[in-house]
Amino acid sequence: MTETSATARDAAPPRPLWQVLLIRPEMMTLILLLVGIFAGSQLSEFFLDTDYILKSFTLSAEFAMVALVLTLVIIAGEIDLSPAANMALSACLFAWVQAAGVPLPLAVLVGLGAGLAMGALNGALVIGLQIPSIIVTIGTLILYRGLAQIIAGDKSIRVPESFVGINDVMVAGIPLPVILFCLLALVLGLLLGTTIFGRQIYLVGTNEVAARHAGVRSARIRMILFLMMGLVSAVAGLMTASRLGSVRYDLGLGGELQMVLMAMLGGTYIFGGRGTILGTFLAAWLLVIVTTGMIVANVLPAWQLCVLGLLLIVSIIATNLIYSRTQR
């Protein structure tokens, strides 16, 4: 008698394999990407040109790199809205100390160190004081950008010629920032998918309390992620400085929307526990394709704002639906 009831309570049969493979957010991203490429080619005859698309991607490569790390942060159940401001502050500090006579390699270290310090402050407030990361990083977003403004005023600071031009370095015909992005995606993809650290990110994001009970050092993992976030933001800031040849406090202004958008479009679940680097990788290309397609077709930037906003909302709705369907 207990046997039957036990069977009754066992769950429904597993989903068929094709569903497991196809009903995934990354699939949605891939389809959107293909649609985007097609739509772009219809909008403008100038669009389908590999060199041009690669060049356009270079302009977003810094944000895309940050978005990859942000994906890990979101999977771990946190969020960071401050990286764009972090980019500006670390780049401004770098340019400022460098202009004040500090040797270039040391100045680079100062920039990276500043990024790490900003990540550490975010982490300390979120993990140490247990304030929700969303509100902490809104606060630090304003603070970091404000500090950059204090340091640099609103003038641009030139960076030395030797530091300029990362986007002109070509490896096998591909701009270096794109290569770096792909490499970072590969490394983080392996980290997330095949290592214990990656596994524990999912555990923490799925159920932080259970993860701690299972011996996962959740505070340490989340702190490492915030530090990674700080570091990659600083790297992105310096890459932007190298690309532009100068630095101003408004560097990367509003970039947090794009970064969050890339992660969301890639199917990262806003409440944590799910998402993949592959998704964000595809989403970064999708976003570049969409914006580039609109710009080269001379679509009003107003429409771009609308499309970005709508994409963000639609992508989280879709992701939520997919996850709620596949998770009974």
């Binding site: 929700p132 304003i142 404000g146 009003l300 939520n320």
Partner: protein, 329 residues
């Protein structure tokens, strides 16, 4: 009276004391800061933020956040401005219901996305922040509404005064604050907002219609942003598709958080938020008087938000350790 009352009082007194100390400190350096005139300047800096903060307070008390208010302000102000420009025959006061109504609709869209799809408000409103701003550009064809189109009577509301030399716009803002206080403390749905934020899981079990309450706070936030939109046109005399309302959300969230509204929901008072707005107003008015460049303002805002968060957290931690003591033992 009780621990609860005194705690809240302490938070509000705390802000009030900070305001007084700050003003005295600035006054020591620049005596002209302690004049009626600078009070007028401070008051004139606050109405938009105060109106926005009342809506945002309710949203945050209900455990959400609305980042789109700046874009709602911009869009409603633009719609009102276009009415002034392209339909000058329409009586200008109709712009009030128009902007407030449109704001409410935009807020309802936020609320509907949050409740229907169970999405986090922060992401939804980050999306509509972008969406509404884009719509502002589109309907206006990216053209500014210049001063000459904004009715003088509307502009006069920021300058002429019914009594004491205080312009209408300030009365409106404080009237909104009073209404919000009444709404929050003395209506059923107002208390339900606090209940929902205090314990979202239990709220439906106690017969609280979560959807209705959530929609209401977002609609109020939107409607008040719409009112702020009209006030913007009154105060500055023009509406610009890109600048109007840009960054408004950060000022408002700063004021609300400083005013003691807990981001964990359930806690917040109108007097606290009013004081928070006034404190920000004092800082904004004092900076130029002291000759501190405006570029520092943003960093100060950020620092003040973080400090307020840390204080809030400390108070909470204390409250929790006290809470764990058993009454019986």
């Amino acid at each position: 009276m009780t621990g609860w009352r005194s705690l809240l009082l302490r938070r509000e007194t705390g802000i009030a004391v900070m305001i007084v100390l700050f003003c005295l400190a600035v006054g020591a350096v620049k005596p002209q800061f302690l004049t009626l005139n600078s009070l007028r300047i401070i008051l004139l800096l606050t109405p938009l933020i105060l109106i926005g903060a009342m809506g945002q307070m309710l949203v945050i008390v209900a455990r959400h956040v609305d980042l789109s208010i700046g874009s709602i302000l911009g869009l409603t102000a633009m719609v009102a401005g276009m009415m002034f420009r392209y339909a000058p025959e329409v009586p200008w006061p109709l712009a009030f219901p128009l902007a407030i109504g449109l704001g409410a609709v935009l807020g309802l869209v936020n609320g509907a996305l949050v409740t229907l799809f169970r999405l986090p408000a922060i992401i939804v409103t980050l999306g509509t922040l972008s969406l509404y701003r884009g719509m502002t550009f589109i309907i206006s064809d990216a053209k500014q509404i210049d001063r000459q189109y904004v009715p003088s009577a509307l502009k006069a509301m920021s300058q002429t005064s019914p009594v004491f030399g205080i312009p209408w716009i300030i009365f409106i803002a404080f009237g909104v604050a009073l209404l919000t206080w009444w709404f929050a403390m003395h209506t059923r749905i107002g208390r339900q907002v606090f209940a929902l934020g205090s314990n979202p899981v239990a709220a439906p079990l106690r017969g609280i219609n979560v959807t209705r309450v959530t929609l209401t706070v977002f609609a109020i936030s939107g409607a008040l942003s719409g009112l702020a939109g009209i006030m913007y046109a009154s105060r500055w005399g023009f509406v610009n598709p890109s600048n109007t309302g840009n960054g408004f959300e950060f000022q408002v969230i700063a004021a609300v958080v400083i005013g003691g509204v807990s981001i964990n929901g359930g806690v917040g008072t109108v007097p606290g938020v009013v004081l928070g707005v006034l404190l920000l107003g004092c800082v904004s008015a004092a900076l130029p008087l002291l000759g501190i460049p405006g570029t520092t303002q943003s960093a100060i805002y950020g620092a003040v938000i973080l400090i307020a968060l840390v204080i809030d957290r400390m108070v909470r931690m204390q409250g929790r350790t006290r809470g764990t003591q058993r009454a019986g033992a």
